[in-house]
């Protein structure tokens, strides 16, 4: 059988076929949906429900069950993702595909909020008179754009106290009562001086990781890495001060990276005498130390934070413009971030409320924590929340730079000279821009 198409022609035919195929695919993948366009609103038909995706433990299970009982027309379906990092990657991917696959309510970690605020066209403006003044100022400020749009409802906050090991303090011959310990940690200088004294007579770590102390200090710096116009500036005196302080005291900590297996193990052996402790950290301490606590181990909470107050963490609920049920979504998150509901969450998980009213509610104020020697946890964290004076400015690159900064501190832990490590940090930051 002779093929009647001449050879060169055949070759170009094949090329053309591949070309057509690739072009077709490109067109198919280009996508014509735009996450900046608000989707057409639809009624919640029977069998259709409002979707929300949370990460970690928001403590919403019982609340959503209650909501579904009271609102037969707006059924809510929750999807739980275990890690924020995984969920963040999924949000990013969905936004690239024009917002396809995003739920009606997207839960995001506080550090991600600057990126939301930087792209106001993608998210629904949620401001309403109903929620005005509901949150601590710094929480609502973190979700508000320059022209006053509110893009996220805050769920919880992370006011920090100091959790400490009463037994280790006693063994080292230091005062160990809550008030006495608090009196010795008013400033960072006091805190590190106490650490030096502690290390003279103990083999345990004074704190869990250089990285977490750096994080705690950064939470008191007004412009940690970025200026108000979002330009990166890592040359400030405050940042240099944090860097110098932390890198010159690496012997006080475990030298492990926070959240690494070595960090987890250090809670058991040799033990961490103090931990910078937002409300949600208590769960980690319990888990890493062991529950019930091993014989002789006594954790406690001191109503103090060196240098005043500091907030670490807390999340937000947002609604993307691609949601087809924006009104219902708004109604639902207005309800679930209300003080009464967030108080219930606090009782279940220990996530500390970010609502002004919840901070003064009886249930929160009278809460004690048995694991922490019966410390009046509710009262302590309320005081700590009230002590927060500085709200650090976080631009869209904050969490990226923070990670590089943590790596830089970790390099010093590992034995690299601080100056050399700082030079690498500058290089890392340059490649982020």
């Amino acid at each position: 059988m002779r093929n009647r198409i001449p050879r060169p022609a055949r070759r170009s035919l094949a090329a053309a076929a591949v070309g057509v195929l690739v072009l077709g695919l490109t067109a198919a993948c280009g996508g014509d949906s735009d996450p900046k366009e608000s989707a057409d609103q639809e009624d919640l038909a029977a069998g259709d429900s409002l979707t929300i995706t949370t990460f970690g433990e928001f403590g919403y299970d019982a609340l959503i069950e209650q909501w579904n009982k009271d609102h037969p027309d707006t059924q809510v379906e929750q999807t739980k993702v275990s890690k924020w990092d995984d969920w963040k990657a999924e949000i990013t991917t969905s936004l690239q595909a024009g917002g396809k696959g995003l739920p009606d309510v997207v839960a995001v970690e506080g550090d991600y909020m600057p990126a939301v605020v930087a792209a106001p066209d993608v998210w629904v403006d949620l401001s309403s008179s109903e929620v005005e003044g509901r949150w601590l100022d710094f929480k609502s400020a973190g979700a508000t754009t320059e022209d006053g749009q509110l893009l996220g409802y805050a769920t919880d906050a992370g006011p920090q106290a100091i959790c400490y090991r009463k037994d280790l303090f006693e063994a080292a011959g230091l005062p160990s009562d809550r008030e006495e310990v608090a009196a010795r940690m008013g400033t960072w200088d006091d805190y590190f001086a106490l650490g030096e004294e502690f290390k003279k007579s103990s083999d345990a770590n004074f704190y869990d990781a250089s990285g977490s102390i750096a994080q705690a200090m950064l939470n008191q710096v007004e412009f940690p890495f970025e200026q108000a116009d979002n330009t990166i500036d890592i040359g400030s005196d405050e940042l240099k001060n944090v860097w110098d302080t932390v890198t010159s005291h690496t012997d006080l900590g475990s030298k492990a990276v926070q959240w690494s297996p070595d960090w987890t193990a250090a809670f058991k052996e040799p033990g961490n005498a103090t931990v910078a402790c937002p409300g949600w950290m208590r769960a980690n301490i319990k888990e890493n130390t062991g529950e019930p606590a091993p014989a002789g181990v006594v954790w406690d909470i001191a109503d103090v934070f060196p240098g005043g107050g500091g907030n670490w963490g807390g999340s937000y609920l947002t609604v993307p413009k691609v949601s087809t049920h924006q009104a219902e979504a708004k109604e639902f998150i207005t309800w679930i971030t209300a003080p009464e509901q967030q108080t219930k969450v606090f009782e279940v998980t220990g996530n500390f409320p970010s609502q002004v009213e919840a901070l003064t509610s009886e249930a929160v104020l009278t809460a004690t924590d048995d694991y922490f020697n019966g410390a009046p946890a509710g009262e302590i964290f309320s005081n700590r929340a009230a002590a927060i004076t500085v709200q650090p400015y976080h631009g869209p690159l904050y969490s990226d730079v923070l990670q590089k900064f943590q790596d830089a501190i970790n390099r010093v832990d590992q034995g690299v000279a601080p100056d050399k490590s700082w030079a690498t940090f500058e290089q890392d930051v340059a490649s982020l821009q």
Binding site: V20, V22, P261, D400
Partner: protein, 332 residues
Amino acid sequence: MLTDDRPGPGAGTESGSTTTATEPPDGRLIRRRRLSRWDLKFSPYLYISPFFLLFALVGLFPLLYTGYLSVHDWDKIYRQRGDFTGLENFEFVLTDPIFRKALVNTFSIFLMSSVPQIVVAVSIAALLDNRLRASTFWRMSVLLPFVVAPAAAALIFGSLFADQSGLINATLREIGLEPIRWHVDRLWSHFAISSMVNWRWTGYNTLIFLAAMQAVPRDLYESAALDGAGRVRQFRSITLPMIRPTMIFVIVTSTIGGLQIFTEPRLFDDSMSREGGADHQYMTAALYIYDRGIVDGFYGRASAAAWILFLIIVGIALLNFALTRYLTRRNA
């Protein structure tokens, strides 16, 4: 593809005029004959098309689109393609000291994993090639590590290689040696990651070698034994030359896989930004692409790095190919 119901260009002019004398006037017959001619001509292409279509969709298109992205900027905030930037991204990647470090790490981990892996796999295969009791059991058991999910394996290895609380360091301390800083020292971290890779892939390659060895004619061994060759001599002079093509295949595939190492260093990593250690001690090229693209949101730079890695792998594969031809020609 071709909606025109003629075989193609060049055939159009002769369809009407040349077929008058020979063909019967029955139109159905003409159609049938034409159909059978097309059948012969196009069917083979149809049969092999699924692979090519699939490859075009999940292989070729991403490849080309990555190339397209690599010459453009990427808007991080709205996650859309930005302006055309030419070779700027390539320039950035090639002058990035971190990328160079990542490339060196990649080759170091690749050599530390592939070389011992192939040596060990051939040795184990040679042992399994003998008559054993319950031979199927032994042969299957080498594949066990391959079945375990890499993530689960990484957890186990993570607790083995933890710097302070790890089992290996605890043992070293017990016998009075200095603990090894697995996540700090560059070479040791490569060693730890390579051992994960080896643990997973050695059994897999063993089975491939075993299959090749089973195909070696047994009478060769018998005649060698008559000539007085011992076991080792038989292995050197018969087994190794006979499995050479398989050897080349395994070397090529493990090169491609080895230069794309991602899972193990990613899961071994305990640093904050997860870029292959606090000082990028064990960041591999694939990890670099992931961190620049997915984590930092620089699609253009990540795409450029991906293309550079692609070219490197193609180069090495060609080198392997040339080597193969040279070796096989020498044998012929």
